[in-house]
Amino acid sequence: MVDLSQYLPILLFLFIALGLSVAFVFLPMGVSRLTGAHQPTAEKLSEYECGFPAFEDSRGQFDVRFYLVAILFIVFDLEAAFLFPWAVSLDLTGWAGWTTMMIFLAELAVGLAYAWKVGALEWE
C-alpha cells in the first residue's frame, strides 16, 4: 500500500485554499452589503456586457468560434504547463530532454502555422 501520508500537506493546502477562496468571495459581498447602499436595478443585476448569462438553458446557442478559441487556448496553455517542469529539470534530462521539447514545440508550431494559414485565428 502506498504511503499516503506524504500527500497530507497537499490536502491541508487544499483545505486552506478552499477556506481562503470562500473568504475572498463572500467577505467582499458581505462587507459591501453591510456598508453600501443596496438599490438593485435590472441593469445592475445583469451579466457583464460581453459574457454569457451564468445560468440559462443548457441548449442555448452561441457562436461556435468561441470553441475554436478555447481549443487553441488549451493547446498553448498546456504547452506552457509543460514548459515549466521541463525548464526546471533540464539539468537532469539533458540533451535528450531538450531535443524532445524542441520536437514538441516544432509540432505545435506546425499546428499553429496550419491554424493560421487556414484562417482559424481570424474572427471573421
Partner: protein
C-alpha cells in the same frame, strides 16, 4: 539508452508522423488543388510504413521483442502483425473514399491527414507496453475519429454522430483513466511487466476495480455490449467511408490492446476477468444479431454486424490461450477484409441523382442492375454469415476450435447457435438483391480504387482465400507467440 535502436524500432510511427505534419502544411498552403496529391502521398506513407513493419516482422527473431524508449514501447511480432493490418486497412479506406467525398462536396485534404494521424495513434496503441503510452495512442486515434465522424460538418447526422461519439468517448476515456490510476495506485507503476510482478502474489479489490474499469474503457473502443450503444448511431451518421474506417482499423487496434493488456499485465488473473469477457462476448453476439434483424438502414445493419463479430473475437480472448489469441488474429484479418469489402460495395452504389444507397429497398434486384457488385456482396454476406466454404467460416471455425480446446464448450455451443440468428440478415441481403423486384434508377459506374478493394475482398473471402491459410496461420501463431513470450 540506445536511441538509435529506439528510433529504428519506432521508424514506422516516426515516418508517419513526419509525413502527417508535412502533408498538413502542404494542404494548408496548397488548398483544394492538392487534395488528391495529399491522398496519394498519405497512402504512400502508409504503404512505406507497412513495408517497414513487414521488415521488422521478418527480421525480429520470433518471438523476441524489441523494447524502445525504456520499456514504453515494444515492437514485436504481435504489434507488427496488427500494424500491418491497420496500415493496409487505412490504405484501403483511402482508396475507396475520394469519389464519395467528392460527390458530397467534402473531399478535403484534411481527410487523409486525419487518417494518417489516426494510424499513428493506433500503431502506438498496439505497441504500448505502458499505460501512459497506451493512453496517448488511444487519444490520438480517438480524436482523429471524432473529427472524422463529423467530417461532413454541414450534415446534421454527421455532426450528431461526431458529438455523440466525442461525448461518450470522453466518458469512456474517463473510465479508462480512472482504472489506470487505480492500477497505478495499487501497483505503483504503469509498466505492464512491473504491474504483473506487483500483482503476482494476489490482487486487492481496488486493483480489481482498476482492471474492470480499464477493460470497460477498452470495451467501448471495440464496441462490445454493453458499451456498444454509440455504434449504430455513429456508424449511420458518419460518412460511409468513415464508417468503413471505423469498422476496420480502429477495431483491430482496440482488440489488439485489449489482448495485450489482458494477457500481459493481468495474465495471472484470468479468472477475474474471464467472466466479464464471456458475458461481453455472448451479449455482443446476441445483441448484434438481434439488433441487426430489424434494421432497414444498411449502415446500421453493418454496425450491428460489427458488434456481432466483436462477440466472436472476444470468445478467443476468453480462452486466454495462445491458440485463442492466434485465432483472434486470424479472425481480425478476415473480418477486416469482409467489412471493408461490404462497405466498399455500399459506397459504389448510388442512385442516378447522386443519393447513396442506404436501405434495403435501394438494393432490391441489384443482381440484375449491377451483377458484379451483387455477386461480390453475395460472397461477402455468405462469408460474414460463416457459411462454408467461404473464408468467413474459417474465421469462426478457428475461434470455436480454440474455445473447445480451452474447455469453454458451453461458450462455443452458444456462440454457434447464436451465429444462426446472424445468418438471417446476411441472407436477407442476398434475398433482396437476387429475388426482389428491381426498382429505381440505374447506378453509376465506380472508380478503379473501389473496384480493386471490392474484387480483392471478394477473392479473399471466396474459397480461394484458403490458399492464404498457411501464411495466415503461421503469421497468427507468430503474433500470438510473442504475446506469450514473457509468460
Amino acid at each position: 539508452m540506445d536511441y538509435a535502436t529506439s528510433l529504428y524500432l519506432t521508424g514506422a510511427e516516426i515516418g508517419l508522423s513526419i509525413s502527417g505534419l508535412v502533408l498538413l502544411l502542404v494542404s494548408a498552403w496548397g488548398g483544394a488543388r492538392v487534395t488528391r496529391l495529399v491522398t496519394i502521398l498519405a497512402a504512400a506513407a502508409l504503404f512505406g510504413a507497412a513495408i517497414f513493419t513487414g521488415h521488422l516482422f521478418t527480421e525480429l527473431s520470433v518471438p523476441a521483442a524489441g523494447d524502445a524508449f525504456g520499456g514504453l514501447y515494444r515492437a514485436d511480432d504481435f504489434s507488427s502483425f496488427a500494424k500491418i493490418l491497420i496500415y493496409l486497412a487505412v490504405i484501403a479506406c483511402l482508396m475507396i473514399t475520394p469519389k464519395y467525398l467528392a460527390a458530397n462536396g467534402i473531399y478535403r485534404s484534411e481527410y487523409p491527414i486525419l487518417l494518417l494521424f489516426g494510424a499513428v495513434g493506433m500503431s502506438m496503441m498496439v505497441s504500448a507496453v505502458d499505460l501512459i503510452t497506451l493512453y496517448i495512442g488511444l487519444e490520438l486515434s480517438s480524436l482523429s475519429s471524432y473529427v472524422l465522424a463529423s467530417f461532413a460538418r454541414d450534415d446534421v447526422r454527421s455532426s450528431e454522430a461526431g458529438l455523440k461519439y466525442f461525448i461518450l468517448g470522453a466518458l469512456a476515456s474517463g473510465i479508462l483513466l480512472y482504472g489506470m490510476s487505480l492500477i497505478y495506485g495499487f501497483a505503483g507503476t504503469t509498466d505492464y511487466a512491473a504491474i504483473r510482478l506487483a500483482f503476482i502474489g494476489g490482487i486487492e479489490t481496488g486493483a480489481l476495480f482498476g482492471i474492470v474499469f480499464v477493460l470497460a474503457g477498452l470495451a467501448f473502443k471495440i464496441a462490445a455490449v454493453p458499451f456498444h450503444m454509440w455504434t449504430p448511431d455513429v456508424y449511420e451518421g458518419a460518412p460511409t467511408p468513415v464508417t468503413a474506417f471505423f469498422a476496420s482499423a480502429p477495431k483491430v487496434a482496440a482488440v489488439a490492446i485489449l489482448m495485450r493488456i489482458a494477457l500481459e499485465p493481468f495474465a495471472d488473473h484470468v479468472d477475474s476477468w474471464r467472466q466479464i469477457v464471456v458475458f461481453a462476448a455472448l451479449a455482443s453476439i446476441v445483441v448484434g444479431a438481434l439488433g441487426a434483424i430489424g434494421q432497414d438502414s444498411l449502415k446500421r445493419l453493418l454496425a450491428y454486424s460489427s458488434i456481432n463479430n466483436v462477440g466472436f473475437i472476444l470468445i478467443g480472448l476468453a480462452t486466454a490461450t495462445q491458440l485463442g489469441t492466434s485465432a483472434m488474429m486470424t479472425y481480425l484479418v478476415i473480418y477486416v477484409v469482409m467489412t471493408l469489402g461490404s462497405f466498399t460495395a455500399l459506397l459504389m452504389l448510388r442512385a442516378e441523382d447522386g443519393r447513396p444507397f442506404e436501405t434495403f429497398s435501394d438494393i432490391a434486384g441489384l443482381a440484375t442492375r449491377k451483377p458484379a457488385i451483387a455477386w461480390c456482396l453475395l460472397l461477402l454476406m455468405f462469408s460474414l454469415a460463416g457459411i462454408p466454404p467461404l473464408f468467413g467460416f474459417w474465421a469462426k471455425f478457428v475461434v470455436f476450435r480454440a474455445a473447445v480446446e480451452a474447455d469453454l464448450i458451453a461458450l462455443a455451443a452458444i456462440g454457434i447457435a447464436a451465429s444462426v440468428i446472424g445468418a438471417f440478415y446476411y441472407l436477407k441481403f442476398v434475398k433482396v438483391m437476387f429475388f426482389d423486384e428491381a426498382e429505381g434508377s440505374v447506378v453509376k459506374t465506380s472508380p478503379i480504387g473501389q473496384w480493386i478493394v471490392l474484387i480483392l475482398a471478394g477473392i479473399i473471402v471466396s474459397p480461394l482465400g484458403y490458399f492464404l491459410n498457411g501464411l495466415l496461420d503461421a503469421w497468427s501463431s507468430d503474433a500470438a507467440a510473442s504475446l506469450f513470450y514473457l509468460v
